[in-house]
């Protein structure tokens, strides 16, 4: 009974408030929030290099087979080098060869400092990309490009660590062999900390000079500083 009475009062109060005015206010506020979608970045392509040093990405970690030596390697073997991480496959008609070519051009601009860089080319098509195929392929571009081949689990672990998508659909009667992969390149500093994200390096107009300059800056970091979080360095 008491609840009923109180409820009655509440109902009256609820209805007395003018929903119309409130709705209007809320919509205005919503539109103000909406304008937070900045005009400038809409339509403008993403920057050619994104600084992700402060984005809290996990350190580079993997276990795979190195195509050059045929032996197992881990991310630790690449500590001390600036590492580029890229996913592709050797039968790729356009994106992968163009990207690796641009990486080779970038390395060329670094001169003697290029030895401080390793580009890790991880195949998402390990069935067709044997270690021999992978080795022959990466050597077409530059000696600093390392072909990596993992088991299904090793590949899935590394890809999901950096939210990389890939898929391989074997050929059927009506469909050719199809491989899907990402375009982005993650760049890690000498301590394995993710520092840069290059959205793509797959066109004739890619920013080679800018990429080389960014890599040079990472190479110039003293080892101690490279270990520090971005905001402190």
């Amino acid at each position: 009974m008491i609840a009923g009475k109180a409820a009655g009062a509440g109902r009256g109060r609820g209805l007395r408030r003018a929903p119309g005015r409130r709705a209007l206010f809320l919509n205005a506020a919503g539109l103000i929030l909406l304008s937070a979608l900045p005009k400038s970045s809409v339509g403008a392509a993403v920057a050619s290099i994104v600084d992700i040093g402060s984005w809290d990405l996990p350190r580079l970690a993997f276990t795979m087979a190195d195509a050059d030596t045929g032996r197992g390697v881990t991310a630790r073997d690449f500590r001390g080098k600036v590492a580029l991480l890229y996913f592709g496959y050797t039968n790729c008609p356009d994106v992968c060869p163009m990207t690796l070519h641009n990486i080779a051009l970038t390395l060329g601009r670094l001169g003697a400092r290029r030895d401080g860089v390793r580009a890790l080319f991880v195949t998402v098509d390990p069935v067709r990309d044997t270690l021999a195929v992978l080795r022959a392929y990466t050597h077409l571009f530059a000696p600093e490009i390392v072909g990596l081949r993992g088991t299904a689990n090793q590949l899935a672990a590394l890809a999901s660590r950096y939210h990389i998508g890939y898929s391989v659909s074997p050929a059927t009667a009506s469909h050719p062999y199809e491989v899907n992969h990402s375009s982005g390149i993650y760049v890690f500093d000498a301590r394995g900390q993710a520092r840069l994200l290059i959205p793509s390096l797959d066109s004739g107009t890619s920013d080679i000079a800018g990429t080389a300059a960014a890599l040079a800056r990472l190479l110039a970091l003293p080892a101690r500083q490279a270990a520090m979080p971005h905001h402190l360095s």
Binding site: A7, G10, G14, G30, A36, S41, A152, H163, N180
Partner: protein, 325 residues
């Protein structure tokens, strides 16, 4: 209190056994997803998180436990139990199964994930009237914290209607700001923050709007609840339309990290994603308004009989055209 306790006794074994099984299964799935990610079944977590695992299964267990501990007259309807379970399983499906991978690699699938974890999932959970079963089902020491006064006071400001509505659409808009979206999708920690702020906000909002009780028991009156459900339609339409009609790829993340469907172009993916923000939330709001009106109707029909002796005759006459008994 004593009848409930006597009911609780036979379940004493389950009180320890079920959570122990949940933790043990979690440990197995945790190990398997790290050691054999490629071999995980589609319906198991492929990116294991204890928070998500325990959050899903413990709350499901506590609800079911509380449901059967309540005297039958106080239990929610079995349909409400089903609704709660469906909502929880939907949130589990889009946040923990392999669907998470799809949502990370196609914009429109990402938007469907957000609808499921911010709208439909919490909506179904709210319809499950979890309050009474959880109060009964959560172990007493934990329940004392969850339902404590300071906790309620902590929630009060964000359950204020204007704040709750602003938070509801504000979070949708915030995580869709292109620069923030890119960062959230790339950074594991921010992705986790985005997903769980959406889930928790969805739960808070829909539990507030879909509360069937009248004002002093619920935080706000029926009219304000309907107004809230209605008001959030328009900003979401505006955000959806803004994305549908943009002629450029606003969200480059999906190209950078790989799209799931090669045959869908980035712009088409974006257009469909915009429609997902535009249409289903508006439909859900419309359903919510109807449910609020229905709650008001049910409440009024339960109102105590009037004291006026002539009331019955007046009501009988009125029933000819109102249709109410």
């Amino acid at each position: 209190m004593t009848p409930a306790e006597s009911v609780a006794r036979p379940h004493a074994m389950a009180d320890f056994a079920v959570p122990a099984v949940i933790v043990a299964l979690g440990a197995i799935v945790d190990w398997a997803s790290a050691a054999h990610p490629a071999a995980m079944p589609l319906w198991l977590p492929y990116d294991f998180s204890w928070f998500a695992w325990l959050g899903t299964w413990l709350f499901l267990w506590w609800y079911v436990r509380g449901f059967y501990l309540l005297p039958p007259s106080e239990r929610p309807h079995p349909w409400q139990l089903v609704s709660f379970m469906l909502g929880m399983l939907l949130i589990y499906a889009v946040l923990q199964t392999r669907y998470l991978y799809l949502a990370e690699h196609e914009f429109f699938l990402n938007r469907i994930q957000h609808i499921a974890m911010h709208h439909l999932g919490p909506f179904l959970v709210a319809l499950g009237l979890a309050r009474a079963p959880l109060r009964k089902g959560i172990p007493a020491p934990l329940a004392r914290i969850v339902f404590s006064r300071p906790m309620q006071r902590l929630l009060a400001p964000i359950q204020q209607p204007i704040v709750a509505s602003l938070l509801f659409v504000g979070l949708v808009a915030f995580w869709l700001v292109p620069a923030i979206h890119l960062r959230a999708m790339v950074s594991e920690r921010l992705l986790w923050t985005m997903n769980w702020t959406m889930v928790l906000d969805g739960l808070l909002f829909w539990c507030l709007v879909l509360d069937p009780r009248p004002f002093p028991l619920a935080r706000i009156g029926y009219g304000v609840r309907a107004a809230m459900a209605f008001a959030v339609i328009f900003p979401q339409i505006a955000i959806g339309a803004r994305i549908v009609f943009s002629r450029h790829d606003i969200y480059p993340y999906y190209s950078i990290c790989g799209r799931f469907f090669d045959s869908i172009s980035p712009l088409y993916d974006q257009l469909v994603g915009g429609m997902v923000i535009w249409i289903p939330p508006a439909m859900m709001s419309a359903i919510a308004v109807l449910l609020v009106v229905n709650h008001l109707r049910l409440h009024e029909e339960k109102a105590p009989p009037p004291l006026d002796p002539r009331a019955a005759r007046i009501a009988a006459m009125a029933a000819n055209w109102t249709g109410r008994p």
